[in-house]
Symmetry: C2
Subunit: 426 residues, 2 copies
């Protein structure tokens, strides 16, 4: 059993985040106590972690990413989108085998842990190698099948769904989805809808990311992507979309009516000139909005602090209103809404019975001082320098800048560099 | 003499940033050698710093900030601008005395150092307390007089200019400027112009920060703020503006023709819903653009990594062009253009004879891997976790998360918290 004491604990309540001078006990994978200081019970703890006034909080959930694309970070930036895709992304992604996906996913996990992220919603192929990388690291992930017309055999999806759901003693789960409407023809779309029907599963997709995507769907089907997919029964059991930048009022109504989730990826949308998602409007409509980094190939970091800052400040710009998207709402999006959209309802906060997916924020760094308002500080001033510890499923995987995922960081770096030397740069 | 060896060195050349496997020697305040590895000369070094493959680069220059306002961080966010100013900023700023300004400036210096910043262009009053805080910390600063109609006796400006230029054995210098056109009446404006004439000095001001500011100047004087100030001779000896969000084509032409400097503060402009500065357009016109954080009261962190990311990606959004404001240009703005606009021409890069204002970037963090392109990595993926060491004027002031400014960080934090308890929150 592990005890966190002598610090602050962040809870999410109906009226917003609340910070209390509490302590938290973790037994195995779960939190077993969260509340006021308890009289010490002597030897019942395997480890007692002195928070020294620091803040214990639920880990961030990165609700949209492509971990195996991390090797493309800073390889070809500041280029037109089509050149970037055709000359840098696609030819190099074709060089990925299971071993490379495993190692590069491990590299991404280091970065998630160092930014206080305890779970990711990932979309890529090589799903089994990805799942092994997460399970071997002790890291939590939800994979979404990226069905499209090019690189997935539809039969693989059902096989992966059955095999990888619950993989790694429950660390990995699997969700159904397509890459996007514009990469998936009607036949495969209908197959995906039939799978979702068969298993009564929510369905996910890249959605309304660019203006061109929406225009293409309108010209093909006379409907926006959300409306077209809905007409096929794609969202019958829920799910939602990644990006959601070019959402019409009708699309927002549809998402609200069907309780669909939107995942916003502000840094990627800015850097690729896609636009700014109408996050404040979606929240006003009652839609649950989560936050993702997208891949380091496009944005170029897997850093939830940067995304939180952007979610809020871009809405203040877009709405011409400095009160838009206040910090407390954004913090909830990053921790709670992320968990909910991924189906990780038992990883969404600190309470007895919840999974121990936690992070400790170092408040002894100058960017946190003075300690005027902790939730506001986290969203507007927080950075990776504040991440002192990250725990997933009850295990400490990151502490004091060191990683504990079964392999030294330097060894993982070297494997990634070797892949670059031998396969990408050669 | 200090030697940096076994790593990489970043130079700015006419064709962009270049990284070489060089070494650098520092003697006293200055760099005395930068070039290929030299045969060791035994005992001539007081300290040899093994870079271990990390990157030595010129420090960032934060070209617009208000260090003593740091105590307002996260005190009153997500509010309309006028409420924030009237209820949070102004009444609390009135409580600042010299002692508080000294301590809060020291708190800000900790944050500058932890983000690799080696000099700031600051605008505030209590100039002598601010200067002592910088000098006592070994930190470099340029103060700009913030003349306005409310809180400065114009006679103080000339006294401070003569006293504080060169203060702290040259660490502090003093520039002339007004707070803004809209806070400074014609009489004081003309006095500032006469001072600039007398000392042949450049002149600075907050400029075109909000749409309302420009509209007000147009209605008062029938000219935009840059055109109006120029008509008075304000820019006769150069200088420029902070923010420069609402610049007309004519304003951009004026800046280009007169070789004026623009300082962009993207995070503050977003968070206060001021807008996005036309940085790419200003660069196309040949204007030198530097980068500032503005104060933590508005943005809420003193972090040049965040600003660099925003400068580039907001221009990609604004121009609907993912090639806008490439990383190499932004890195130069943060290091070189910042130094130039502050009059710190001998702090703008790594070469024998330049001041030793340097920072070491830790490349052994997951966000830097793989090492595909270092300048791109710094701008799009870099963060404070990468800052391993910061040196100002030949002295190491920050290393391995510890500060060396003559007082423990915890003591500075406690002084700031005490001010909040006794003066602000009481």
């Amino acid at each position: 059993m592990i005890r966190f004491y002598n610090g602050k604990v962040l809870y999410f309540t109906r009226s917003g985040p609340v910070v209390a001078d509490d302590e938290v006990h973790v037994d195995g994978e779960r939190i077993v106590y969260a509340g006021p200081r308890k009289a010490s019970e002597g030897s019942c703890f395997d480890r007692e972690i002195d928070l020294n006034g620091d803040l214990l909080m639920p880990g961030f959930k990165n609700a949209h990413t492509h971990s195996p694309m991390n090797f493309l970070r800073s390889l070809a930036d500041d280029r037109p989108l089509d050149l970037w895709l055709r000359e840098s992304c696609w030819p190099n992604e074709a060089k990925l085998d299971d071993e490379a996906v495993y190692n590069i996913t491990r590299l991404s996990i280091l970065e998630y842990l160092s930014s206080g992220t305890t779970a990711v919603f990932d979309m890529y192929n090589h799903s089994e190698a990805f799942s092994r990388a997460c399970a071997d690291s002790g890291f939590r992930a939800v994979i979404c099948s990226a069905m499209n017309d090019f690189d997935r055999d539809p039969a693989d999806i059902e096989r992966d769904y059955l095999k990888l759901n619950g993989f790694g003693a429950g660390l990995v789960s699997y969700r159904l989805g397509i890459h996007a409407e514009y990469t998936t023809g009607l036949e495969r779309l209908k197959y995906m809808v039939s799978l979702a029907e068969k298993y009564r599963e929510p369905c996910w997709t890249h959605l309304c990311e660019t203006k061109g995507e929406v225009e293409g769907c309108l010209s093909r089907y006379g409907m926006t992507p959300p409306q077209f997919l809905d007409s096929l029964g794609f969202f019958r059991f829920g799910g939602g979309g990644y990006h959601c930048v070019w959402m019409s009022d009708g699309d927002i109504d549809l998402f609200a009516k069907k309780n669909l989730h939107a995942v916003t990826c502000p840094s990627s949308n800015l850097k690729l000139s896609s636009g700014i998602a109408p996050v404040a409007a979606m929240l006003r409509a009652g839609i649950s909005v989560a936050i993702g980094t997208d891949s380091a190939a496009s944005n170029n970091a897997l850093d939830m602090f940067r995304e939180m800052y952007l979610v809020s400040t871009l809405q203040k710009y877009l709405e011409n209103d400095p009160t838009a998207c206040p910090a407390a709402d954004v913090l909830k999006m990053a921790c709670v809404s992320g968990a909910r959209c991924m189906g990780l309802d038992d990883c969404d906060g600190i309470a007895a019975g919840k999974k121990a997916d936690l992070t400790v924020m170092d408040l002894h760094r100058p960017n946190m001082r003075p300690l005027n308002n902790l939730p506001v500080n986290l969203v507007y001033a927080g950075s990776k320098e504040n991440v002192r510890l990250t725990m997933v499923n009850g295990r400490v995987l990151y502490e004091d800048s060191r990683f504990f995922i079964g392999e030294e960081a330097e060894s993982i770096y070297e494997k990634a560099e070797k892949f670059m030397r031998e396969k990408v740069r050669s």
